[in-house]
Amino acid sequence: MNPGSFSAIFLDAFLINNFVLALFLGICPFLGVSGKVKTAGNMGMAVTFVMLVSSLCAFGLNHLLVKFELEFLRLICFIAVIASAVQLVEMAIKRFSPTLFRALGIFLPLITTNCAILGLALFQTAREYSFVQCLAFSLGAGAGFSLALLLMAGLREKLELADLPGLARGAALSLILAGMLSLAFMGFAGLGG
């Protein structure tokens, strides 16, 4: 598969270099919002959506910055764009789908400081992706984040009914689980190569 193709970039961000499990981006929400499958699903949706929007915004913005030779302002601008994108998304959802807003609402402000979103924008710029490639990248990253979050939430929900030893409470348990998921995802290495 051509490394620049839509499917290759999607697969890469989705499974091979999963944002959470291989690149450690978005660990905080990953550990924080993975207690229940339902909330995890909503969070995954919210992140994917914001990723898509902010990735495309960042793509356009980067073009402008390059055009005016203002690359040194990139970081500040990206942050601003993501924050306003989240705000816009929040407002739009609130306006058009109150049910969706109730499901996603509380996560949206959290997403602003989610490094997966900024990381996505920074990576796509560093790799000089085209518009279509950005699309694939953000969709793949969002799907990968959601998958990891859902798997994690399922496992944690199941382990809630377990007799965990004292050591395995709280964050340590989540981290070990994440480590195992990360081990399992190593199997996808080189997929499509």
Partner: protein, 350 residues
């Protein structure tokens, strides 16, 4: 005549199986495979299996003691983990690494989550995946089957000093007059050199590979015994094998010169032992009737996907671990439709 002493609630009868009986029979079913692997790989395989079993059982025992709980060795599950782990490591694997893998299997893979019944991943595979990531070279070093001196001497890497790197096996293999053997499991040959291995050989198992994964025929027979005793969910095995066969058949039909036949897919590598003994681990597999089929299909498809398109030539381990991770979700999504469930459609009509 005195009054009854037992005040119990129903039911007062119990079925014939118990957890330790099931586990014990799984160990029995693994014995022929162990024997065959010793016949095939000699003394090194023997000590490898023994080490893994002993360390697994020992870890479980001492961890329970440390926590001040009665030992849970009696349920035989630690023994299964140990034997299985021994069978899925390469025969030349240094013993100290096998011991590390065993401790990880039981320690992180099982006891950390609260012991038997709560381990979300198959413990033996956790140990192996850890070893695969930690000791990449030794775990992909293969030695030939039926080497002529296998009952007289150990493979030089077996008794590597703890924490030291194993010695290069090439001089030893040259002495045995086997050349260029490293990496030449049937799967590697297929993937990188498009060399097919005779199906008969694969079926009987006289090829290189992990200690106990080579003979698909024997594994299948042992699995049949367990399925006959109702100690193994045959639906999982069937769906793993069927999905792997169908998925690889699609590609084989497309281009037989590059992709292996479905039969090769089924009989090569660890698919058979994975499907029969690993995927069917009760604790980490779904319980719902539809769930087990989905679970099995995930394993089959992901295995073939990794084998054909991934960087690795074998993907059973990762496929099963991933399916384990998905098990709670599968269980959630495939709750059986209960008897007399009130369907929404009906309500609408009424």
């Amino acid at each position: 005549m005195s009054d009854p002493v037992h005040l119990k609630t129903s039911p007062h009868l119990r079925g014939a199986h118990s957890v330790d009986k099931i586990m014990r029979h799984v160990v029995y079913a693994l014995m022929p495979i162990c024997l065959f692997s010793i016949v095939q790989f000699g003394l090194s395989a023997l000590v490898l299996i023994l080490t893994c079993t002993a360390v697994c059982v020992g870890t479980e025992h001492f961890a329970c003691r440390l926590n001040g709980r009665p030992t849970t060795v009696g349920d035989w599950s630690a023994a299964i983990t140990g034997v299985l782990l021994g069978l899925i490591l390469p025969p030349s694997f240094p013993l100290w690494m096998a011991a590390v893998a065993s401790v990880v299997s039981i320690g992180i893979g099982k006891l950390f989550f609260g012991g038997l019944g709560f381990n979300v991943f198959n413990p033996a595979l956790v140990g192996r995946a850890f070893a695969q990531a930690a000791f990449t070279v030794p775990i992909t070093t293969w030695t030939p089957a039926m080497a002529h001196a296998r009952f007289k001497e150990f493979i030089p890497s077996t008794f590597t000093f703890p924490f030291a790197a194993p010695p290069d096996l090439r001089p030893w293999m040259e002495r045995l007059q086997i050349d260029g053997f490293t990496g030449a499991t049937p799967l590697a040959l297929m993937k990188f050199d498009y060399v097919d291995t005779e199906s008969a050989k694969l079926f009987v198992g006289t090829v290189a590979g992990s200690a106990g994964e080579t003979s698909s025929m024997l594994i299948l027979l042992c699995g049949l015994y367990l399925a006959y005793r109702k100690m193994l969910n045959w639906k999982i095995v069937a769906s793993v094998l069927a999905s792997a066969a169908v998925f690889s058949w699609i590609f084989w039909v497309k281009d037989p010169s590059v992709y292996p036949t479905p039969l090769f897919t089924l009989t090569s590598g660890g698919l058979m032992i994975g499907a029969v003994f690993m995927a069917t681990d009760m604790v980490s597999s779904p319980v719902t009737p539809l769930g087990v089929v989905i679970y099995g299909s995930i394993i089959g498809v992901v295995t073939v996907m990794i084998r054909l398109f991934g960087g690795l030539n074998e993907g059973v381990m990762y496929a099963i671990l991933l399916a384990n991770a998905a098990t709670p979700l599968i269980n959630n999504l495939t709750q059986p439709r209960i008897y007399g469930a009130v369907r929404r459609k009906k309500e609408v009509k009424a």
